[in-house]
Symmetry: C2
Subunit: 78 residues, 2 copies
C-alpha cells in the first residue's frame, strides 16, 4: 500500500519551486502525493493546522510535517 504525502502550498514562488522540484520527486511507486493549495482550499486549513503545519510550503509524509524553505506563515492564509 502506498504512503500518503500531502504537499501544502499557497501558490507563492517558493511554493511552486518546491512543488516542481521536491513534491514531484517522491517515489511514485511508494507515495501517493496530493497537492493542496491552502489559499484556494481553506476547508483543508484545520487539517493542516492539526498536523502541525506552521508555514508553506510544507510536505506531510504519513503525518510527519517537513517545512521546506519558507514561503508564507500559515496565519497569513487563515
Amino acid at each position: 500500500m502506498k504512503s500518503k504525502a500531502v504537499f501544502y502550498h499557497a501558490g507563492c514562488p517558493v511554493c511552486v519551486d518546491a512543488e516542481q522540484k521536491l513534491a514531484h520527486a517522491l517515489n511514485p511507486g511508494q507515495y501517493q502525493v496530493e497537492i493542496v493549495h491552502l489559499g484556494e482550499s481553506k476547508s483543508r486549513l484545520p487539517e493542516a493546522l492539526k498536523l502541525g503545519v506552521k508555514s508553506v510550503p510544507a510536505l506531510a509524509i504519513d503525518g510527519d510535517v517537513f517545512h521546506i524553505n519558507f514561503g508564507a506563515p500559515i496565519e497569513a492564509l487563515q
Copy 2:
C-alpha cells in the same frame, strides 16, 4: 541520466528524521541521492555554502537547495 540530490545533515534528531522520511523517499529511478554528514565531512562545507545551504537538514536537488525544518545553522558546523 539520473539527477543528483545531496542531503546535507549533521546527525541531529531533526536531520535523522528528514533523512529517513524524506531523503529516502525520492524516486530512485530518477535521483541519485548522496547523504553528507557535514560534521564528519567538513571538507564538503565549502561546497554546501556555495550552494546556499544555511542550515541542516537541507536537500540540494540539481543545485537547488531546500531547507527542511531546522536542525542547526551551518555556522555551528564550521
